[in-house]
């Protein structure tokens, strides 16, 4: 859906993150919510009907980018800059509370 202007053939990405376990190229300055729009299958499922959703506002007011970042659930992905090796997992429906 989106592609970085820095993403050129033969040029390495700035870093690699993991989206639902899959290695994903990421660029300096972008946020977790930005990566979600590029990674296949990164939709979350809404808490009521289970519809697929992707980030909508990118500025902290819609909460469509809620995601598990390095194990922390319900994180607003648009407020978290990417970091090398970051683990990003989709949150489907109501979040789980660990036992």
């Amino acid at each position: 859906m989106f592609k970085s202007v820095h993403d050129k053939p033969g040029k390495a990405s700035d870093m690699t993150v993991f989206v639902n376990g899959a290695e994903t190229a990421a660029w300096n300055g972008e946020t977790v919510a930005s990566v979600l729009l590029r990674a296949p299958g990164a939709e979350r499922r809404s808490t009521v009907s289970g519809e697929p959703r992707l980030p909508y506002c990118q500025m902290g007011v819609c909460f469509e980018c809620l995601v598990i970042v390095d194990g922390v659930a319900s994180t607003q992905g648009c407020l978290v800059p990417v970091a090398p090796g970051m683990r990003i997992e989709s949150q489907h429906g109501p979040r789980e509370i660990s036992k």
Partner: protein, 457 residues
């Protein structure tokens, strides 16, 4: 930690105010949600260079100077930090890196800007549909360009600006669904002073002409639907008696911006209804002070005026705060000498024209459209409840859960207000907003518990 002033937001207004306050020797902390200063308008301005910076244009590049001055100002900068509660006195409860804490201040300046006006329509929750502002943030953050069949729908200066930026980076936009009132988007480009960025503007005008020729500049349409299985695949609309359908991978929407009001609402400040642009904003005195002494607002958070007006209102609020704290008996003369009021009224000169050109949309909302994205409440459910309750959005909220999700009514508030007004046949101004209470942003119970005994502290 106690400061003289806590500034919330490090965009044009917050940075300008912090710089000014520091010049007066006042101890300032500037709290911001983002990881770097600049606000949404100048997001990534310290990092972006080369073609991205060039495409973002001259107004964007101007932010670098202010950001540098802010960095050098001596204000304590608290980035990547959310404010989730403000108590009079003033106590501010913050969270960053998963830890909550409390700081204190003698005065507070809210400079937390605006958000895009949420405008629900059928299919607006589909993956692939997002706001123009969101797409522009993606461009500023990681140089992201939309791919495939990209459509823009809406009105206001931002869609044109964004389109010219995308074109400047060899991106492609398939078509534009212009919802503005005549004379339309093109008219704006002929306005002196509307755009300082002439090469970019010409690009935009060329683009509009191309679209018109190819029939992909759509005006006077209705019933826009975004459709697809699990993601956006098509757009449909009606033009006259014809139903049109196009392939679409990305739809970017924009219907103007509205001030952020959750903070002032939660603090019970007096608000006024802006009937030109249909939003509430806190009532401010000539120094930007709200009805709660010591609480100030500057920039778009106090009413939409754009970045230049925001920097000036930030400077004025800084003088007002210095005056409030007793440190600046000469605030009036400083204000005069700097010509702040003349400059502010020049910066706002275009606003009445823009407000008239881009009135808030008023298309009838179909019953099946989801209004509350979090709790997935439809317009039909809201109407059904509104019919049997008081003309009060809080009654709708109580009966439907609309506005109870994590966004805390930021996406559905004005739509619920409009539906309640519609059902009861009342003017919008006679219907209030949701009751807003902390937390202003979701915060974990663990963080709150770890604050310890606040009464003893």
């Amino acid at each position: 930690m106690t400061y003289d002033v806590v500034v919330i937001g490090a965009g044009p207004a917050g940075m300008s105010a912090a710089i000014q306050l520091r010049k007066a020797g006042i101890a300032v902390a500037a709290v911001d949600e983002q990881a770097a200063p600049g606000g949404q308008i100048w997001r990534g301005v310290e990092r972006n260079a080369g073609p991205v910076s060039a495409a973002l244009g001259a107004d964007y590049q101007k932010g670098a100077t202010l950001v540098e001055a802010f960095r050098d100002s001596g204000a304590e900068y608290l980035p990547a930090t959310q404010v989730w509660q403000i108590e009079e006195g003033w106590n501010l409860f913050l969270t960053s890196e998963g830890k909550a804490r409390r700081i204190k201040a003698r005065a507070v300046l809210l400079a937390n800007g605006a958000q895009e006006r949420p405008v629900p329509f059928p299919g607006w929750t589909l993956p692939g549909v997002m706001t123009v502002g969101a797409a522009q943030i993606l461009l500023k953050s990681g140089g992201m360009l939309p791919e495939g069949e990209v459509w823009i729908a809406g009105a206001g200066p931002l869609p044109l600006l964004y389109a010219t930026q995308v074109l400047g980076l060899e991106g492609r936009i398939a078509g534009f669904l212009d919802t503005s009132k005549r004379p339309g988007l093109a008219a704006l480009s002929s306005l002196p002073g509307a755009w300082r960025d002439i090469p970019g503007l010409l690009k935009g005008v060329r683009w509009l002409w191309d679209l018109k020729r190819s029939g992909r500049m759509v005006r006077g349409f209705s019933d826009l639907h975004a459709e697809g299985e699990g993601r956006l695949q098509h757009l449909q609309w009606r033009a006259g008696n014809e139903q049109r359908k196009v392939r679409a991978d990305v739809l970017l929407v924009h219907e103007g911006v509205v001030p952020r009001i959750h903070e002032t609402m939660a603090l019970g400040c007096v608000h006024d209804w802006n009937s030109d642009q249909n939003y509430f904003s806190a009532r401010l005195d000539q120094w930007g002070e709200t009805s709660r002494p010591g609480l100030f607002v500057a920039g778009d958070a106090g009413g939409i005026g754009g970045w230049l007006a925001a920097t000036l209102s930030g400077e004025i609020a800084a003088l007002g705060i210095a005056r409030y704290l007793g440190g600046s008996p000469d605030a009036d003369s400083l204000r005069r000498e700097a010509g702040l009021d003349e400059r502010l009224s020049r910066a706002r000169a275009l606003r009445p024209f823009l407000d008239a050109l881009y009135p808030p949309p008023a298309e009838h909302l179909a019953d099946e459209v989801v209004v509350c994205r979090c709790e997935e409440v439809t317009a039909g459910q809201i109407r059904a409840v509104a019919k049997v309750s008081a003309p009060d959005p809080n009654a709708v909220k109580a009966a439907t859960r609309c506005g109870m999700g994590p966004c805390q009514g930021r996406q559905c508030g004005y739509t619920v207000q409009a539906l309640v007004a519609e059902v009861h046949g009342l003017p919008l101004a006679d219907v209030s907003f949701f009751n807003i209470r902390p937390p202003l942003k979701p915060v974990t119970l663990g963080e709150i518990a770890a604050l310890g005994d606040l009464e003893e502290a």
